[in-house]
Each structure stands twice: as structure tokens, then as C-alpha cells.
Symmetry: C2
Subunit: 293 residues, 2 copies
């Protein structure tokens, strides 16, 4: 069994990006610039955004943060998005989710200029991804693809079972793993809350991607010997074993599954660190006009 | 075994649409107007377009046809699309495919105003479909959904196996059958040219959708007893049995599979007639501004 080290892979890719940014500076090009909008004071959202800012700085990107109180109106927020859309110095724009209930999240996402939508959440980018046209891929699925690539994991003709059908992970990764490309060309099955015989279906998987949002849901008896297991879940649960009183768990029961599979992503340090790296890669693509001319 | 009569269902839906159009006229509303662009003189394309025109007339829609020779330039064609986009009297616009090689088909599709893209081919509509937002669904998948509805076929929790991953059938129907809705909520597996043990996977299907483009590919030994079989294929093959010297076959070996399954769509007269009906439904939605305000 080999552990897929997302932390090390993310660090490797970040240093590649940093090198490219240094070269951009050398030839007098503007460095990539990512803008983030943060509404309200949700601690998790603040942590995510500050993590993204730190990563930007680490690779030499400019990052700017637009913070607003939770009672900002939808109209005001649309104005801010429009302002950043029109700012030629900004290459990428992300709006940290979730948004307060009085704001229509789809309306905000659709108001982002698709050429700056480095989260890959705008329906135009989702559609382009499905049609295999140049697009910003959503961060987590894109991160998973990069792990397959960096670890040279064969995917063609494999049975890939995906647990979960969310808009940001399950559904897009199912499309990407099915398409005629590497990584891809898998026979993909998507499972969800209505699936019958889920355990049996899991046991057919050469590649199992768990994004079901339930701690340690996947147990050893659900996994085929030598399967590749990708764990997208991250759950903070109470624990007597740690000083903090908490520990992080994935959707996979790591201790027992890791003994049976060929590759596995740990939690933390697996898929998680790759998500921010994907955002950086998309922002770099935006600056280089690789997706939209 | 019950035959899913697409021809009768399509006629039924057409008469419903015609009734609605008559009501629109009664209250002084403009009737829906579908414009089609036809390039070159491919006989199949001409047949399809004239079929669409006839169907429009039958339900009381206005239809207009823009015909151009095969050597029209991409630039000229973009101008025509732009002209129709701006014509407030036109609700829906379709460009008959395929286009000549010198024209970039993606560029043309992306130039269509998404609010008039009643074929559901524009990436914005594809993305909205994936995200479960209001969208024009592509015609063939939409037609299949309507058959499930009209025949009250249960889909929740069923294993649905799809043969083919094309942009216009396999991939979109896989997304629609998986999503949290009726018809939908299936556990969907998408098979294609790289799939191993395809026969075995087919035998797990409660619902089998064949869109693989190979005549009589699906045989009785690949089908579970009492499965629902949807045949999207249509192939004109030489035959000594008919006067014309040709007959139409689907992707499914009808004679043997029909004896084993619970429901089956015939070819012709199954999915085919539903495709035009979907286009009419989308055009009606466009006229009523149900998808885009």
C-alpha cells in the first residue's frame, strides 16, 4: 500500500508555480492576481480565505480580500462583483461560500465573469467541462486528477465508483473520470442516498472516490483488494486521543482500508491540500489567458 | 412486456402544445417562433430540418428557415446568428449539425443567445442542467425523461446503465438520471469503448439506455429479466425483407430483448419522435420565458 501524499504533491506543484511566477516577473509580465470576497464572520470561511491568501503569497501571486458584513444586500454584492469583473488587474475572483440566506448564491456565481471564475462554479465553466472544452475545473475534482497524474495511476478501463453526487465534487469528478482523456476513460458509477446495494457496488471499484460526507463511512469490507481509494471527506470529531480534544477523520476508515488497498489518500494531507493548489493553477491559467482568450 | 410508444406519446404531447398555442392566440399573445439555420445540401440534414418545420406548423408555431450554401464563411454565419439573436420575434434558434469542416462548431454554438438555444447545446445550458438550475435540456435526453414520466416508470434507487458517453445523449442522460428528481435518483453507470465486462454490467441494469451507435449491439443475454430498455440508436441497413431494400434498426436486438424486458422502446417509433417534441417544448418554454426571464 502506498500513501498518496497530497501535502507533498501540493508543495511540489506550488514550487513549480512559484518558479513560473518568477519567470513572469523576469520578463516583465504582471503576476497573477486573485481577489476573494468574504461575507460575514464565519470562522471556517475566514480560515479558508486566509489559507488561500497565504498560498497566493507563497507562490508570488497578488491577493486582495474584499470583506463585508453579513447584512450586505444582494444588490450591493452584485455591484462589488461587477467592479472586480471590470478590474483588468484582477485575473481570478472567488466568492467564499456559504453566503447569508438573503443572498441568492446562484445569482452571485452567475454574475462572476466566467473568465475570472477560477473556482469553476459558473454554469458556463461547468458546461464547458462537460463538453470537454477549455474550462476552469472545480478545485477538488481538479486536485484529484492531479494526484492521479503525479502518481502515474492508470485509470483507463477501470471501474470507478463515486460516493456522492454534489455539484462541487461527486458530479464533476464523475464526468471527468468518464471522459475520453487521462486521467479518465473509467467506467464510472455514481452512488448516493438512494443507491441500493451500495456495499456491493463499492466492492466492484478499482478506484473508489468517497465524497459522501459521513465520517469513516467506507470500511474494509466495502473495498476490493488493491483498489485505489480517494478520500474527499474531512470531519472534525471529538477525541480523547488528542490534546486538542478533536481529531480529523475522512469518509474512509483509514486504519483498516489502508491495509487492503494499493493507494490511499490520508485525511488530513490527502485531497485537502490539492484543492488550494487547483485554485492557484486556475488563477495562473487566467493570468496566462489559457482558458479564455 | 409493454412497448413504449414514442410515436403516440409524441402525438399526445404535440396536441397538448397545440392546445396551449391556441390559448395563447385567444389571449392575444404571440405564438412561439423557431428559427433554423441549414448549411449545405446534406440530404439527412434537409430531412431533419423539414421534419422540424412540419412539426412546428402542426402545433401552430411559426418556423423560419435560413438556408446557406456549404461555402458560407464562419464570419458570415456568426453574423446570421447575431442577427437572429437580436430578432425579438424569434424565440428559439437551432443550427442544424453537422457543419462544414471550415466552420468551428463550438464557436457557432457558443454564439447563440443561451436564452434562444432550444437545442440545449450551449455550454451555459449544459452547465445549468448539471447544476439543476432552469435550463433547456438537450432534446433526446429530455425526450427519454418524458417517456419515463408518461409511462409512470419508477426510477428511484434503480440501477441505470448507459451505453455511450456522447455530448448529446450519453453524458447528459447520465447526469439527468442520477440527479435528485423524478425521473432520476438512479444509481447510474456509464459504459463506453474502454469499458471492461460490459455485458456483465448491462446485466445489472434495471434501466438500460443504449446510445452506443452500433446496430443490434444489445442482445437478450445482456439484459436482466424485466429491465426497462430504452433504445436511442437508429441505423439504416440493407435488407431483403423490405420493398425499399432498407430497414431501420436500433442499438438493441428488438426481437429477442423484447421477450425478456418489462418495457422497451421500438425503432422506429420510440425515442426518435420524442426528440422533435422536446425541441417544441423548449421553444414553448422560450416563448413563455420559463427558463430565462
Amino acid at each position: 500500500m502506498k500513501i498518496i501524499d497530497g501535502k507533498a504533491t501540493a508543495a511540489e506543484i506550488k514550487s513549480e508555480i512559484a518558479k513560473e511566477v518568477a519567470e513572469m516577473i523576469d520578463i516583465g509580465k504582471d503576476v497573477p492576481h486573485l481577489a476573494a470576497i468574504l461575507i460575514g464572520d464565519d470562522p471556517a470561511s475566514q480560515t479558508y480565505v486566509s489559507g488561500k491568501e497565504k498560498s497566493c503569497k507563497k507562490v508570488g501571486f497578488i491577493s486582495s480580500l474584499y470583506k463585508f458584513p453579513a447584512d450586505i444586500s444582494e444588490k450591493e454584492l452584485l455591484k462589488v462583483v461587477d467592479f472586480i469583473n471590470k478590474d483588468d488587474e484582477v485575473n481570478g475572483l472567488i466568492v467564499q461560500l456559504p453566503l447569508p440566506d438573503h443572498i441568492n448564491v446562484n445569482k452571485i456565481i452567475e454574475s462572476i465573469d466566467p473568465s475570472k471564475d477560477v473556482d469553476g462554479f459558473h454554469p458556463l465553466n461547468v458546461g464547458k467541462m462537460v463538453l470537454n472544452l477549455p474550462a476552469y475545473l472545480p478545485a477538488t475534482p481538479y486536485g484529484i486528477l492531479q494526484l492521479f497524474e503525479r502518481y502515474n495511476i492508470e485509470t483507463v478501463g477501470k471501474n470507478c465508483v463515486i460516493l456522492g453526487r454534489s455539484n462541487i465534487v461527486g458530479t464533476p469528478i464523475s464526468i471527468l473520470m468518464s471522459r475520453k482523456a487521462y486521467p479518465g476513460n473509467c467506467t464510472v458509477t455514481v452512488c448516493h442516498s438512494k443507491t441500493k446495494n451500495l456495499e456491493k457496488i463499492c466492492r466492484t471499484a478499482d478506484i473508489l472516490i468517497a465524497a459522501i460526507g459521513s465520517p469513516e463511512f467506507v470500511t474494509a469490507d466495502m473495498v476490493k483488494k488493491d483498489a485505489v481509494v480517494i478520500d474527499v471527506g474531512i470531519h472534525r470529531v471529538k477525541s480523547k486521543e488528542t490534546k486538542s480534544g478533536y481529531k480529523l477523520l475522512g469518509d474512509v476508515k483509514f486504519d483498516e482500508v489502508s491495509k487492503k488497498c494499493s493507494y490511499i489518500t490520508p485525511v488530513p494531507g490527502g485531497v485537502g491540500p490539492m484543492t488550494i493548489v487547483s485554485l492557484l493553477k486556475n488563477t495562473l491559467k487566467a493570468a496566462k489567458k489559457e482558458v479564455y482568450k
